[in-house]
Amino acid sequence: MKILIVGGGMGGTILANNLARRLTNELKTGKARITMLSASDKHMYQPGLLYLAVGRMTPDELYRDQASLLEPGINFHVDPVEEFQLDNNRVKTKSGKTHEYDVMVIATGSRMFPEGVPGMVENAETFYTEETALKMFKRLQAFEGGKVVVTVGVPHKCPMAPLEIVFMLHDYFKDRGLADKVQLHYTYPIGRVHTLENVAKWAAPEMDRLGIKYETFFNIKEVDGANKILRSEEGVEIKYDLLITIPTHKGMEVVEKNGLGQNGWIPTNRTKLNMEGRSNVFICGDTTNIPISKAGSTAHFEADVLGENIAAMVKMGTPVREYDGKVFCFVEAGKDRATYAMFDYQNPPDPKAPTKAVHWFKMAYNKLYWVSARGLL
């Protein structure tokens, strides 16, 4: 069976390694073959960008060579897919090569799309790429006081990032002795400070305690850079001195160009993870249109299910498990405290008060990630 994995991010990498270990014998005998096509020879630990933006990580800590993370037996090519020919079970790559498959997994991820809001690219800082995170940190270093507005677009990758960055900014400015000179202001699209009610219940009083102002029911309309004003669809205007955004995201361009899904999100069965209408195409991670968090842990848990199922398809001709919607997110509540949220389709999260212990576990996970990507954790 020819297994093709498109995308070398967290979901694709965990899945490829998971499959390679489950199919050791089949790979040796030629009964199975695993090919990964990726746009880059580097693998980025994307949650590290949050720390890069406040000077708590350096760029080199974010990367490993992709090939070094993969099990022997996986055919890895830096050659991104440009055409999906689903009716013929094959793809065409940038270099012009054609790869055929019996089973394909699309795990191409998502990208920020600040261009969707007039004035956002020119006037706001963000941290969803190495370049923008470094630029944001340099702006923070040069900032000596004024109103810092953190504003949130939807959908976005990592639902906890808005809260994490605002609490980390609070501690950043406090450590620089600027607590009295900086006013932090947070906006959120719905009627509370986070979409998870239980998370909002601890975050709002925490913001009150720290003197962080917030505006709920705020959906970004435009940024007026000349007058330093942020405007919402609800008709509210907020002045800023420094604007930081959690930008709206889209799926990858190649998904849209091939007509696989609106805004780059591919219609996906929420338990079987197959692309709607296709029994041999599966979707993993941010690329799905499933209404759950676009987060690394989602990709991880989906990859675990797909690994077990595709291996079972090779060995028994049928998948064996369903994805239950499991997500686990750490939530940094400043520079030295954190909590977490764990939930699935049936059970809502119930986060506890932040502790130092959870923060240090998150710090450890920032290193353990590389074990996780290898499919060992």
Partner: protein, 76 residues
């Protein structure tokens, strides 16, 4: 021409049915109807409140077998 769309937010705690509706409205046309499916009864309050605040039209809410169907129309 106005369309009717289903926004399936069943089983969604994060980002949640209201966030799914906000995203769906962005790629809809004025006049389109959107029916949100939610297994979270909080949506029955959150969505009409948000729709009123933003200036869209709230049409109806019904509950069937633990699934709330909340219908709104894009007005702007």
């Amino acid at each position: 021409m106005a369309e009717k769309k289903i926004v399936d937010g069943r089983g969604s705690f994060c980002p949640g049915p209201l966030m799914e509706l906000i995203v769906a409205l962005k790629s809809s046309q004025i006049g389109d109807e959107l029916e949100v499916l939610s297994t979270d009864k909080g949506s029955a309050n959150d969505i009409p409140e948000w729709v009123h605040k933003v200036g869209h039209e709230y049409i109806s809410t019904t509950e069937e077998g633990g699934v709330w169907h909340i219908t709104v129309r894009k007005k702007k």
